[in-house]
């Protein structure tokens, strides 16, 4: 279990360009809260920021420290600390059955085939999903697939969970169930979403535009400011 001091994410003067287009130019940010939301238009830099935090992208300049690990120097240790949930579960699930999907992470961490399979089945049973062990992924609903993605991450016992637009393929019931699960996680959570309502109980919300932070603070005022800017930009109230 990480000590509270380990739970900091520190970005110092981070710059990043993709195909000669600058995404971040000297971004500095410190995140210590347990539940943090990222909002902003498409292309604002939310997904890129999440990818920088879990080391999928490395900064051209500056440094990022995640729970005590510097992402450039200690990238290989990040998968054990940081779990990442992508937008489309279909792109994240690699194996055709639930047990194999869970076991894959355990094997990547060094477990043997038998140990990983047994642990995966036990983990699914512990989360009342024993039926999914031998279920074909194609037979699961989108909500169940997203749930499986979360379990595949949690089995690795990360201290930080990053979620990039996890609701895009979920119906209302699945979304509510998913949010309940996220709320119960002991891990630090950073989530990017266009669904502003889900951030109501978060500790902090960061509004981004063009790779810069426009507003940062408690959810209600930041979300209200963003909503107002959206209304202003289209010229009338919805």
């Amino acid at each position: 279990m990480s000590s509270p001091g380990d739970r900091n994410i520190i970005l110092s003067g981070v710059s990043l360009a993709r195909q000669d287009r600058p995404l971040f130019d000297g971004l500095s940010l410190e995140i210590a809260e347990q539940r943090v939301g990222l909002i902003g238009d498409n292309g604002a830099g939310k997904s890129s920021l999440l990818r920088l935090i879990n080391g999928l992208l490395l900064p051209d300049a500056g440094s990022i420290t995640v729970h005590g690990l510097e992402t450039k120097a200690q990238r290989s240790s990040l998968p054990g600390k940081v779990g990442f949930i992508f937008q489309n579960p279909e792109h994240q699930i690699v194996f055709p059955t639930g047990a194999e999907e869970i076991a894959f992470g355990l094997r990547c961490a060094g477990g043997t085939a038998k140990e990983a399979d047994a642990a995966a089945r036990a983990f699914l049973a512990q989360h009342n999903c024993a039926d999914w062990a031998d279920a074909a992924i194609s037979e699961l609903s989108d909500g169940q697939k997203q749930h499986l993605c979360i379990l595949a991450i949690l089995v690795m016992t990360p201290s930080l969970v990053l979620l990039d637009e996890p609701f895009s393929s979920l119906d209302l019931r699945s979304r509510m169930k998913f949010m309940k699960m996220i709320a119960a996680l002991p891990q630090q959570v950073i989530m990017a979403s266009h669904d502003l309502d889900v951030f109501a109980n978060f500790d902090r919300v960061i509004w981004m535009e063009g790779g810069k932070i426009v507003a940062d603070g408690a959810p209600a005022p930041v979300i209200a400011a963003y909503r107002q800017r959206c209304i202003d930009s289209i010229g009338h109230a919805p």
Binding site: R75, V94, F95, C108, A113, M156
Partner: protein, 207 residues
């Protein structure tokens, strides 16, 4: 090979992946040695019977073969014109038998077991700098994402039909290829974020 894992346990599930792959290789070589159309037709019917008995109750699986039909008909027609109908029967029966057998193996073998069985066979590739674990994962990914890709193609075709009322043309292959590349990027990111690349690199650095 073309359809998802069969979750209902059959007698084939109990056989180790390595033995199944070996049997598949031996039988496939056997099929290439047969040249009489009657023998091949008989053998293919036997394989078909084995297939149907194994997937008993999962008849919807057969629908996943539909995309293969134009290809088989095309090959058969070409062979019939070039070398006669007997040669066409030989080519088609060989292909059908091998596809059915390969599908039986993948349908009844967990993917991780398949990767474990393939990795030692691919180990000699290390000499030319190829990581056998990555190749076996690539094989697994092809099997896993075949239904996903078929579904993507169907959706593209439906979108085309909805807008034009006509059959989807071959030029849809270009955007479809772009979709596949995007999908490959997403999957690579997902694997990377779960430490697959890292683990394999560490394993290799220990060697």
């Amino acid at each position: 090979m073309i359809a998802p894992y069969l979750t209902q346990k059959t007698w084939l599930h109990r056989i180790a992946a390595g033995y199944k792959l070996l049997a598949l290789a031996v039988i496939s070589i056997g099929f290439t040695q047969l040249s009489d159309w009657r023998s091949l037709l008989g053998a293919t019917l036997a394989v078909l019977a084995l297939y149907l008995l194994t997937i008993l109750g999962h008849w919807s699986r057969l629908r996943l073969y539909t995309p293969l039909l134009p290809l088989l008909i095309g090959i058969g027609a070409l062979q019939a014109c070039a070398s006669g109908w007997e040669m066409a029967v030989v080519s088609i029966t060989r292909l059908v038998a091998m596809i059915l057998l390969a599908d039986l193996v993948t349908a009844t073998t967990p993917m991780l077991a398949m990767m474990d069985a393939l990795a030692p066979l691919l180990r000699p590739l290390r000499r030319i700098g190829v990581d056998e674990n990555q190749v076996s994962l690539a094989v697994a990914l092809v099997i896993r994402f075949m239904p996903v890709l078929l579904n993507e193609w169907t959706q593209r075709g439906e979108a085309w039909r909805a807008r034009t009322g006509r059959r989807p043309p071959l030029r849809l292959l270009a955007p479809f290829a772009a979709d596949i590349i995007r999908l490959a990027d997403h999957v690579a990111e997902a694997l990377d974020s779960r430490g697959f690349q890292v683990k394999r690199s560490q394993e290799r650095s220990k060697d």
